[in-house]
Amino acid sequence: MKDFVLLISKTPEDRTFVERAAQIAGIPVRVVDSIESAGKVFQAGEIPQAVFLDLPEERSYREFDQLVNAQSRQFQEALLSDRLHFLISQNIDECPYLIAGPYAGNILKRSRALEHGGEHYGRILQGTLSQRGPELLGTEFKNRGGVTREFVLGRTIEKQSAIEKVRDLFVEHGFLGRVAEVIATAADELLMNAMFDAPVDGAGHQIYSKVDRSTDLQLVGRHAVKMVVGFDGAYGAVSVVDSFGSLERTKLLKHVLKLYKDDTYHLGTEVAGAGIGLASVFQLGGSLFFFSEQRKKTEVIAFFKRAETFREYRGHFRFLTMQFR
């Protein structure tokens, strides 16, 4: 694997964004303006560390698919979905082919402010290339003079007071009230996912999926749930870790897609559990980073832009990053 990031795009904003992100991750960038030109790079036997691809329409996706299929097996195995970053301007529901296909590891939804997001995404990129998982909150905020706070929950009923504390913490530190409520909701969804959706038995069946979310359960041993929240001048984040590693990429993406259908999501009275709450965090304007080691652990981190107004917060670029090992 060669030490470079390949950007396939004609857009100057993409270039500014990816160059900054790659600089933070400490890797040089090579830019080509078409999938055909990318083919020439691949044919020279060079496998990049990561590929960023502008995806304006389904045709580009099909073209990329053909290109990957034309490569050697060794190439295909090296360039997993973990290393592919798709840049889209449309809503996620407008590219179902991406969700259904095998490549959707990392999806970036552009906004006007994309070029300013490079620094933040650089650390995400670093996380995707690291083998031991992101541990982003430990390093990300502490190293840059930010604040982190850790919550260890002993019982499920401690969730309520923990998320109130999260809300108050962000308000105290100057986040908009509405954004603090969104962050509290995200903390709630991440905790519910770790407490009730993640636990599986030896056969991989969910243990508590049918259990009412107000049930008082002890969180000991493998069921222990840790939440870390952190923030600095630019971002706020919530991370929740469980020790089951049971999250599935296809299920997660299906829920994200469902939330976006027709710009609204029509819920029946019987709503499937795992994933829908996590997907709703993305809809509320958060970015999501999933790191899952099968049967070992899942870490979900939600990031929120610190902004002067809610409109600015909503206008920020968002990403959905999924690393399944």
Partner: protein
């Protein structure tokens, strides 16, 4: 979440207070409804996915029973759900909503109450307001197409 009830002639007004989380039991908290039900939603700061489920289950069951219900003073968090989820209002009438504002001078967040009928007439455009804290200019603070999406559907 807590619910304060108030009988007003032929209608029951239920004031919702607090975040809507987990499987909140509306049926038990509101009790039997004689006549119309009005939900006053200004006190709901956030709703999680379980709260959404409980809400839809309750109002769908009311609809099946033929009970008339409507929503007033919907907080931004409630409006966000009504706009994002096409069946969140379950056929109930959304009478008035709290529109979020932010002061251009001191950044104070506030809300201004609007009747949805008036919003429809004005094509969803809301005028600037005076900041309740400093008197400066306060402006609408959300994405218009997203926040008011439900008005286009009804």
């Amino acid at each position: 979440m807590k619910i304060k009830k108030e009988q007003d002639g032929g209608r029951l007004i239920a004031h919702l207070q607090g975040p809507l989380e987990n499987s909140f039991d509306f049926e038990r908290a509101i009790g039997p409804v004689k006549g119309d039900l009005v939900l006053a939603c200004s006190g709901v700061p956030r709703i999680n996915s379980e709260g959404v489920k409980a809400w839809i289950q309750y109002f769908e069951s009311l609809k099946k029973k033929g009970t008339h219900f409507s929503f007033i003073e919907c907080s931004p968090a409630v409006v966000q759900q009504i706009s994002a989820i096409s069946n969140f209002a379950c056929g109930g009438n959304v009478i008035s909503i709290q529109v979020p504002y932010v002061c251009t001078k001191c950044r104070h967040e506030s809300v201004v109450l609007f009747e949805t009928a008036d919003l429809k007439k004005s094509g969803n455009s809301v005028p600037d307001a005076a900041c309740p804290k400093c008197g400066g200019q306060s402006v609408f603070d959300d994405i218009e197409e997203e926040f008011f999406a439900f008005l286009k559907r009804s």
